[in-house]
Amino acid sequence: MARTLSFKDAVNEAIDQEMTRDPTVIMMGEDIVGGTGSPGEADAWGGVLGVTKGLYAKHGDRLMDTPLSESAYIGAAIGAATCGLRPIAELMFLDFLGVCFDQMYNQAAKFRYMFGGKAETPVTIRAMVGGGFRAAAQHSQMLTPIITHVPGLKVVCPSNAYDAKGLLIQSIRDNDPVIFCEHKNLYAHEVDVPEESYAIPFGEANIAREGTDATIVAYGLMVHRATEAAENLAKDGIDCEVIDLRTLSPIDMDTVYESVESTGRLICVDEANPRCSIASDVTASVTQEIFSSLKAAPQLVTAPHTPVPFSPVLEDLYIPSAEQVADAVRKTMAT
């Protein structure tokens, strides 16, 4: 039965259902229980934003607080994954990637290939991404392109609670290392979510809005900006298709090609910095594979090549807006 659920609660429910289903699923992270060893409440936080609240009461010591040592515990989750467990590790913010990246890209990502196909590393690393929290340069980044670049990692970045639940369940069941990116500005966003467990396969983009004049490709929060832009453009008689990539590695380019072959126009929206971004990657593939389908030069709408600023007025300018997306669509329509 479907009922309205927030993105945050959908993540919680996915973890809960998988921990109930599979005894080898464990979870670890900084403050994911919260208060371990402290004089007050044992299950005080349930994650820094309360995403895992209540899971300790149900699953006990299968949820483990960790010391502030991302290299050690992300690595331990990866090691445990090769030894029969199916761990979920929370890297509080993907911005902390630099502290523990070696364990992710030199270890987890490469075991299967380096070891000639003999290893499986079924680990899920959940991390908050994205801006809008006034959290400044080290807690707001969209670092998805960096991890998408790495062969051996899978990268997921849902735009809504329904996809978050189904994709997180798939991530936990998946036998490869998955980086599951949760946009913190979507945590409160609610949609209908079934109570029962379901998995959404990787590599299947979702057409968030159908349209015939131009194709807007986005993921995460940017799907909402793209859809807002599309609704506004519809008032001017411009009918946009919005494609939500949902997973960045693997990536469903077939759905993008099919749409661009029909519309002839491509706009890629990415909250990441512009160089070597998901937007530039999608644009390059479309240009190489179906160049003759294009009626106009593809347009990229991204954050600027700067760190994320603190001051709200600056951060609002930093994150791509629906207006910028609409302007980019109009630019493609002019030719």
Partner: protein, 327 residues
């Protein structure tokens, strides 16, 4: 033959000697063949350090997982990885342990409890914590073991892992193989404490230092720490002070070493000679028995090299396989 004064049966002593000799000859042969330009890439040889790997690994079974490092051949052989497949791997052949995709620095066989050699120094320590955590959560009696050198024990990953293992009371043992040199840099300069036991104490862990050229010293110290870990006593650190006969990597001119250092060590601190002296003096094993093993090991290494040379190379199809389980 006299009564056996050692903590291992005669059969186990023969196994231990064969293992150490296999490592030695594997490395001696690689030294020669690498010098001839027959081996691609680079190799880091374990010769001189055999008593550490074997003295420890004699206590382990396939359920126990070890995370090794760049100098991993000895750990692999002692943990039971197939020697011929290892040689083929180092030659980049499809019959290798990793189908020619890993090479010397990435030999692994999880079914044998070998989580992988590792090209990133210190990276194995968190992985070994994961192995210990898996054993703890799955309720089996296995342990995790991390092998680092004196150099990598300065890495944050190693130090964080000491704390994590202590906080979670994991069945993990951190082996510091102290051969005196981090690549070319002296341990006396690069490690601020005088003893790794002091470093372990700083993290609330018990630590033991042994002469890593003495097989029996390693065997007994490791046995106690491993027993403790299996019984839920938690993590510990074992420092083996040892000798590296070759350079950091093959091709290293070793000008940072003292003049005559390698020759002196080979003469006076060769763990294989020391082992042989102990067991023959006690009258438990004879020179003839050990010589027979020497002959068999040399034949094995010769066969491993011959088979590696004649084995097929990977093909273009192999380039893109086994990146993911499914994609």
């Amino acid at each position: 033959m006299s009564k056996n004064p050692f903590p291992l049966s005669k059969d186990d002593l023969l196994i231990a000697y064969r293992m150490m000799k296999t490592i030695r000859e594997f490395e001696e042969r690689l030294h020669v063949d690498f010098g001839r330009g027959e081996i691609p890439g680079f190799v880091h040889l374990y010769a001189g350090e055999e008593a550490s790997a074997v003295g420890i690994m004699m206590h382990l079974n396939d359920q126990d997982q070890i995370a090794s490092n760049h100098r991993g051949h000895g750990h692999c052989i002692a943990k039971g990885v197939d020697v011929k497949e290892m040689m083929a791997e180092i030659y980049g052949k499809v019959s290798g342990s990793c189908r020619g995709k890993g090479g010397s620095m990435h030999i692994a066989d999880l079914s044998k409890g070998m989580m992988g050699a590792n090209g990133i120094l210190g990276a194995g320590s968190p992985l070994a914590c994961g192995a210990g955590l898996a054993a703890q959560k799955l309720g089996h009696n296995g342990i995790g073991m991390s092998f680092t050198g004196d150099g990598a024990s300065n890495q944050g990953t190693f130090l964080e892992s000491l704390n994590l293992a202590a906080v979670w009371n994991l069945p993990v043992i951190f082996v510091v193989e102290n051969n005196g040199y981090a690549e070319s840099t002296s341990v006396d300069w690069a490690v601020a404490v005088d003893s790794y036991v002091d470093r372990a104490a700083g993290f609330g862990l018990p630590g033991v230092t042994v002469d890593g050229t003495e097989f029996f010293a390693v065997y007994e110290a490791a046995g106690e720490l491993i027993k403790r870990a299996r019984e839920g006593g938690g993590p510990s650190l074992l420092e083996c002070k040892m000798i590296r006969f070759f350079g950091h990597f093959e091709g290293d001119a070793q000008t940072y070493k003292a003049e005559g250092e390698n020759e002196y060590n080979r003469k006076h601190h060769d763990c294989l000679k020391i082992f042989r002296a102990h067991v023959t003096k006690a009258g438990v094993l004879s020179d003839e028995e050990l010589d027979a093993i020497d002959t068999q090991v040399l034949a094995l290494i010769d066969a491993a090299v011959e088979e590696a040379i004649s084995a097929p190379l990977p093909t273009a199809d192999d380039l893109t396989t086994d990146v993911y389980v499914s994609y």
